[in-house]
């Protein structure tokens, strides 16, 4: 069986290789800067002394400077584990979004000395939504590739988009990122467009795009941070967690997607602040409701709006079935 925890994937090896590729003299300062930039927090204490003392005999030393004995460093061959993983992911339905079929086949043939690390059917995602995107659809693939190309080239795209209501609109968008939702099994485009007065952000599902073309206009906006960061401050809701029915662990895992602060305030009682984007509010709301009474939104002024949403649902429920 292949090893995942192996020194060939060690970060120190990567840093040493980076230094070995450097042409000319390498000063002590360069050693230090490279370790600091690419190493762990304390690598200066552990890796730098070894490099400075040339303990691995990989450099020639002269007048306090170093020269790589291994010009150009090394290009590490693929391990069996890496090849098996590649072989496995090439069979994923989404692989066709990135690779033409003849490339996919050529890759598969070059990896014919290994078995895939896993098969798609080895995994059963029992609570994934059943209406995921159709990755085999030729139009979908073409839209995906155009958007990817536009992101690489920092171009804008014109999108004919059909909203959930059925209404279609034409948008000129600068695509910034592609977001994959593991629960919905779909891709969304995160992008922005400019009006005279402000930057408008867009989150657009690829499956709702009816047409995508690369726009010829020069992009006005410089590449910006993802719009989720740029435009909207995160919202916050504070929860009380009573650790019965393993609620603490379940909460921490289920809300792993969100940034959060947790502290213990009593025996089996915890306070947890969750930070979220406004767009995700309904999703978070129903997730909190799904825990039942072991989770409680704290009754304090900051939570007033969120509490209002919870109370509205409970009130409706009580009227519907008492």
């Amino acid at each position: 069986m292949e090893r995942l925890f192996s020194e060939i994937y060690n970060r120190y090896f990567g840093i040493v290789n980076l230094l070995l590729t450097k042409k000319g003299n390498i000063s002590r300062k360069m050693l230090q800067d490279t370790v600091q930039k690419h190493g762990f927090g304390e690598s200066l204490l552990f890796l730098l002394p070894k490099l400075s003392a040339n303990e691995w005999e990989l450099f020639e030393e002269q007048d306090g400077a170093y020269r790589s004995k291994i010009r150009g460093g090394v290009k590490q061959p693929l391990s069996r584990l890496q090849k098996r993983w590649l072989k496995a992911v090439l069979a994923d339905p989404r692989a066709g979004l990135f690779l033409e079929e003849d490339h996919r086949q050529a890759l598969d043939e070059m990896l014919n000395d290994v078995t895939p690390l896993f098969h798609y059917e080895d995994f059963y995602r029992f609570d994934r939504f059943s209406d995921g995107d159709d990755y085999a659809d030729a139009g979908y693939r073409a839209h995906f590739r155009k958007i990817l190309q536009a992101i690489h080239n920092e171009q804008q795209v014109r999108i004919r988009y059909e909203a959930r209501t059925g209404r279609t609109t034409n948008l000129l968008v600068k695509p910034l990122q592609l977001e994959y939702s593991a629960k919905n099994d779909c891709f969304r485009l995160l992008g922005c467009s400019e009006t005279k007065t402000r930057l408008r952000r867009h989150t657009l599902r690829l499956s709702r795009m009816r047409n995508v073309t690369i726009a010829n206009e020069e992009t006005q906006a410089e590449r910006k941070e993802p719009p989720v960061k740029a435009e909207m401050p995160p919202q916050k809701v504070t929860l009380l967690i009573r650790d019965s029915r393993n609620a603490m662990e379940r909460t921490m895992l289920q809300f792993a997607d969100y940034r959060k602060n947790t502290c213990r305030i009593g025996d089996d009682l915890y306070r947890c602040e969750i930070f979220y984007d406004k767009d995700d509010e309904t999703e978070l709301l129903i997730e909190i409701l799904s825990f039942g009474p072991v989770l409680e939104v704290v009754d304090e002024p900051e939570n007033e709006r969120f509490l209002g949403l919870i109370r509205e649902r409970l009130q409706k429920q009580r009227l519907l079935k008492n």
């Binding site: 980076l18 762990f40 391990s79 989404r94 690390l117 059963y124 029992f126 994959y180 009580r318 079935k321």
Partner: protein, 431 residues
Amino acid sequence: MSDFQELIKNIDKCRDYVRDFFVYGFKSRSDFPGKSARTYDDERRRIISWLPEYVREDYNEGGKSKNISLQIDQKKLDTNPLFRVWQTKSFTDRDLSLHFFLLKLLEDGQAAYSASELTDLLMDEYGYEADLQIVRRKCNEYAEEGLLTVKKEGKSVLYSRGIRYEELPATEELSDLIRCFQMDMPLGVVGDTILSARFEKNEIFRVKHGFPTFTLEDEILLAMLDAIQESKKAEVRVQNNRHMEAEGQRKRGYPMQIFVSQRSGRRFVCLYMESKRSAHFECVRLDQIKEVMILPDTDSNSAEHRQQLEAARESVWGVSFAPLIPGKGSMQKLILTIHADERTEPYIVKRLQREGEGGSVERIAPDTFRFEKTVKDAMEMFPWIRSFTGRIAEMEIYDTDGEQLLGRNARLERIFFSDLEKMYQKYGIEI
């Protein structure tokens, strides 16, 4: 002087600490009773060193104890920071030197040398003195890892390098695929090793609803996937993460499939377990498996067991399986009546269809829909049903043998509605 090291030999202990700091981001030294203060301090220091930008240190309970937590905002990540745990394997000085010298000597894909020739070349080219046995051992180790290939020529064993990433076709497109898949696909850390070796970054893809902690179980997953492919039996030691001091339980079975919950952030291995009297499927959480041993037994009926699993899954909502031969009242039928405005809230019906795991959805009156599903354990459905709070007109649970209804299960219904009652009280909801 401290013997603290940034790198580690064994990942098991550290994996549990990372998980605890991430999942329970409020634990301080006193929460690790079975560990020495030195062990706790060293593990904490290591985690701070590996993940400095994600670590938050503060004092809890009135400043009495210091704790650390990992603050990770999954949706904004370009890679999973917990992959770094896999980049920390310690090595000897010789491991590192030989790695670079040998791979450089074999740089030309056509070159093939014996261990003895390589030993001489190490001295001639780099002035590096190494013992023949050590060079041979390293070459064999790398052949085992797949970095080198081996061929026999007469009595000689010749080593040459394996294929490089750069030699594959369409690497530009392939790199985008890896950037996207490394955060979402099983064992995505392997994709990360490919990108990291080239210092390639991901600026394009983000993943929503991902779970960074999955990677901490990846070595267990790897063993399970091998057992699945070879239809081998496995023995696992299962230990509850909340009671780490206990030895745990040992279970034996044939790994059949990995069950993944995209909502709860848990992965399970489904084992086919057989005894003299019966056989059944059982799901075991991957993060609670602390040891795996692959046994020599091979499942001679694996195809049949796969079919049985596929059929059995029909009546499983999450991970609770019914016995393979259903007994009286061994199943439960859940009937949920939901109120939704057909005109303005069509998405509610869509939710029932796409999230209902194959349950039937029927319009029974204007703005009223009935969802039905027969499962082994209806209680597993409660979190999902609660997500419809505000729309639940009725919820009934019947015991069944899979064919006939045997009567209402008042106990389960009471649990559900009494929880709802508790919520009304908590939030001061009155009629």
